[in-house]
């Protein structure tokens, strides 16, 4: 493999993969399985992938700057870093949700007790 350019096959694969990725995101948005708020970062990722495939020059410059031997390795490295970041942010989102879920459950339990209490008092009065 020539280290000075990106193999056309790899480029085509990258473009096809990114387009497929975009379609999946759009499909999930259409099916309401994904909200716009959480899709932005994925759109950005797909966009960057297309950018790399269409203008490999960017990747070559980055490779020279970071002194990575193979271009593909650099792409993998960046994708891996992105995935790591995404996983961490998803853990954050889950933590926030679990806190909210906890509070909601507690409120529901307190309300249920109040309703039960009121019902008992009402039936007492009607007797």
């Amino acid at each position: 493999m020539n280290a000075g350019h990106i193999e056309p096959v790899f480029r085509i694969g990258l473009i096809l993969g990114a387009i497929l990725f975009l379609f999946i995101i759009l499909w999930m948005l259409k099916k309401k399985k994904l909200t716009v708020r959480y899709s932005i970062v994925w759109f950005f990722a797909a966009f960057v992938l297309v950018l790399f495939a269409v203008f490999p020059y960017i990747v070559l410059v980055l490779r020279d700057l970071l002194q990575v031997e193979l271009v593909s390795n650099l792409v993998f490295l960046m994708v891996l870093a992105f995935v790591l970041f995404m996983l961490l942010s998803i853990s954050c989102i889950v933590s926030v949700f679990s806190e909210k879920l906890k509070r909601l459950s507690q409120e529901a339990a307190l309300l249920e007790q109040r309703v039960r209490d009121l019902e008992a008092r009402l039936s007492e009065r009607s007797e």
Binding site: S105, Q106, A108
Partner: protein, 243 residues
């Protein structure tokens, strides 16, 4: 003075009835610094605990989903705050905490000597002292707490504890979900609350199985230590908090 005894309950069909009746009997026969109410909190038990609470006409909350011990006890603290209780006491639903010692645990808080008083089985060393491994774990947590925040607590995992109104309000907003007992100590101390202990005698649970076995206790230890260290690293001592 209004006192609320919070009894978290998860799959305690063998114990919960006895625990509540024993508490009621004990409250009638002992002198306490105020009126005592209780609240069983059924943490979405999969056994017949919920039915038992209903049939006996117990005062209870029912979590719609399983929250774990932290979220369950916190629901009790929320209830205590909303209903204007002066002291909230936590007592396990498995019968290992003898309600006859309620006055001992509530006393220092009622007299204003402490903001939180923990019932400790290691002061007089009477009654059920638990397994060697667990004692070791509890001691390690105790030393760790002393290093991290200067708290002098021996029975660090004891769930028999009373807190005054200010601390209950604080716990209603901030309470750990996973390993709440030791973390409640460090968070209270860092907020400037006074935390101490009173001697009590504990029994082995009456029936059912404990949620912590031998292997789990080692795993528990590692996770608790980590959570305490992380808590200390991410929380600073409040201004004006006494060392």
């Amino acid at each position: 003075m209004k006192i609320l005894v919070i009894i978290p309950c998860y799959n305690e069909e063998e114990n919960i009835e006895r625990v509540v009746h024993r508490l009621k009997r004990s409250v009638r026969t002992h002198e306490l610094p105020g009126t005592v109410d209780y609240l069983v909190i059924n943490d979405c038990s999969t056994d017949s605990s919920a039915r038992i609470c209903e049939e006996n006409g117990f005062s209870y909350l029912s979590n719609p989903v399983n929250l774990g011990i932290g979220g369950t006890v916190q629901a009790g603290y929320l209830y205590a705050v909303r209903h204007g209780y002066d002291i909230a006491v936590q007592m396990d639903g498995d019968g290992q905490h003898n309600p006859d010692y309620l006055a001992d645990v509530v006393g220092p808080v009622a007299r204003g000597e402490l903001d939180m008083c923990i019932g400790s089985r290691f002061i007089k060393k009477e009654g059920f002292q638990t397994s060697f491994m667990r004692r070791l774990g509890i001691n390690i947590i105790s030393v760790l707490l002393r290093i991290l925040c200067g708290a002098h607590v021996r029975d660090t995992t004891s769930g028999f504890r009373a807190s005054n109104r200010q601390l209950t309000e604080y716990f209603a907003q901030h309470y750990a979900q996973d390993y709440p007992e030791p973390e409640a100590i460090i968070s209270a101390v860092l907020e400037g609350f006074r935390v101490g202990e009173a001697p009590v005698v504990m029994a082995e649970r009456m029936g059912g199985i404990s949620s912590i076995n031998a292997f789990k206790s080692v795993y528990y230890m590692i996770k608790v230590s980590l959570s305490l260290v992380v808590f200390r690293l991410t929380n600073s001592r409040q201004k004006g908090a006494a060392k």
